[in-house]
């Protein structure tokens, strides 16, 4: 063991927020700083969304993404969706330009909106029809609403983000009842929990994400490199699964 760490496999971070939130300054609030932070840990690419979109304005947040992603091929844009028709129209326009490989649900709890089909049904139907995967934060949307609502969209691929030890009792049942769900691992710190998930579901349904800047980029990546899993499984979790979700 050494006092330093850098990934030894290719890494594609599935969960990075960029820009400043209305109430919180990012530690990397200019486009040049994020690649430096990624490089320090050996992160080659990152799926990035604008944190403005989580709560204040998905549409303005999405418009601001290009400043970051057009300058840097390592940053893949992820567009945030609200429940209004303007948000869906914007996503359709971006999709016509061929730049939408994934969509992220906004923070429904902070917006005080239930994640139900009579509010989000048009979005979910469109994503299902276009084969676009949806990222949903377990921190920001109640798990019961996620399971109940997604049951009506069996073809939709979803990535559940930010599972935590407080979700312990729910994660495996959610993975069973949502067979198209992938689990992003940024906050999943249950002891030997990821090794158990690999044994039960296979590494193919797990994604490395940092949840940066809510969470530091390095610790979970370090932990993944010290699990009792095969090198092939590590490569799936760190990059290959995300590539499959976005591009297959």
């Amino acid at each position: 063991m050494s006092l330093s760490f850098r990934s030894r496999v290719p890494v594609f971070d599935a969960n990075v927020g960029i820009g400043n939130r209305h109430d919180r300054r990012s530690p990397v609030d200019s486009p040049g700083q994020l690649p430096e932070e990624m490089s320090r840990h050996g992160v080659d690419r990152a799926l990035v969304y604008a944190v403005q979109g989580e709560w204040i304005s998905p549409m303005q947040g999405n418009d601001s993404l290009a400043v970051w992603t057009e300058e840097n091929e390592a940053l893949v844009p992820q567009f945030v969706a609200g429940c209004d028709s303007g948000s869906l129209r914007q996503l359709c326009n971006f999709h016509r330009n061929g730049v939408v490989s994934s969509v992220r649900l906004h923070n429904t709890e902070e917006c005080r909106l239930p994640f139900v089909s009579w509010l989000y049904g048009d979005l979910l139907a469109w994503l299902s029809a276009e084969g676009i995967p949806l990222w949903i934060s377990l921190v920001d949307t109640p798990p019961a609403e996620i399971v109940d609502t997604l049951g009506g969209y069996p073809d939709l691929t979803v990535v559940l983000v930010g599972a935590h030890y407080t979700h312990s009792m729910m994660i495996r049942p959610m993975m069973r009842v949502l067979p198209n769900a992938f689990l992003e691992l940024s906050r999943y710190e249950n002891i030997c929990g990821i090794e158990k998930l690999v044994r039960e579901f296979g590494a193919g349904r797990l994604l490395y994400g940092s949840f940066f800047p809510r969470y530091a980029m390095g610790p979970m990546l370090f932990a993944l490199h010290h699990l009792e899993i095969s090198d092939g499984d590590l490569r799936l979790i760190c990059a290959a699964n995300l590539e499959r979700v976005l591009y297959d």
Binding site: P27, S168, I191, F222, A223
Partner: protein
């Protein structure tokens, strides 16, 4: 061992917490420790207010691998009549090396006189006390400033370093004001720059690595230290040297 130095985890639990799937499975704990070079882990059981029930479980757990685990004594003012006698038993008979308190499982703030017998015991013996801290009203780190100066022979370890703001800043200020105050690193709040700030503002000789095992996997929590932008000398202090000094190992 990491880089040839012993690594000590200052914050671990004995007992079960079923809704979080936390169980003190020795094999799992050792598996996770061994994977990243953690040599020893300090353990306590906070689920029994009489102290003795949990301390006996801790002693039994430690006895299976005494070279890997260190017991800390837990007592609670919910059953205040047992506090000092149980501390004497746990330290003198069970061989525990420090004290754990958990104010959220009582109704008393960390600076309430009800805790004074515990602090006096630690002061008399020159022991460390690790207390849970965070947003809960009973355990804001600012309260440590009211007690640390009164018990100069005791050492106060602020678990989770306050967890989040404004409590993290309170923890740092307490460490800056009192030489017998330390901040411990385990936390589910893993924002960028926290370890760097603790080291820069509290001092590398006052920051102690902890993981909260088995509530959390120590590999991620250790990763916070390894991936932080701090020097190797500072990492060695945080990962073990400070704990060894505090526990007189």
């Amino acid at each position: 061992m990491i880089d040839g130095r012993e690594v000590i985890d200052f914050h671990g639990h004995v007992g079960r917490w079923d809704i979080f799937e936390m169980s003190d499975d020795t094999d799992e704990i050792l598996h996770a420790m061994d994977a990243v070079g953690i040599d020893r882990c300090c353990l306590f059981n906070i689920f029994h207010p009489d102290g003795a029930t949990g301390n006996d479980q801790t002693a039994a757990f430690v006895s299976r691998y005494p070279e890997r685990f260190i017991g800390f004594a837990y007592v609670s003012p919910l059953m205040s009549e047992f506090m000092v006698p149980e501390l004497e038993r746990a330290i003198d008979e069970l061989g525990f090396l420090a004290i754990k308190i958990y104010p959220p499982y009582s109704r008393w703030q960390l600076n309430d006189p009800v805790w004074n017998p515990v602090y006096q015991f630690a002061d008399d013996r020159g022991l460390a006390i690790i207390s849970h801290t965070g947003a809960e009203e009973t355990c804001w780190p600012v309260y440590v400033e009211d007690i640390a100066g009164c018990y100069p022979n005791a050492n106060f370890v602020i678990a989770h370093a306050g967890n989040s703001e404004p409590y993290r800043s309170q923890a740092i200020r307490a460490a800056q004001r009192f030489s017998n105050v330390y901040v411990e690193t385990c936390s589910t709040f893993r924002e960028p720059g926290v370890i760097e700030r603790l080291v820069a503002e509290a001092g590398a000789d006052r920051v102690i690595f902890g993981s909260d095992v088995p509530l959390m996997d120590p590999r991620t929590q250790l990763g916070k230290i390894i991936t932080a932008r701090i020097g190797d000398c500072e990492k060695r202090l945080v990962l073990g040297e400070n704990a060894k000094r505090l526990l007189r190992l």
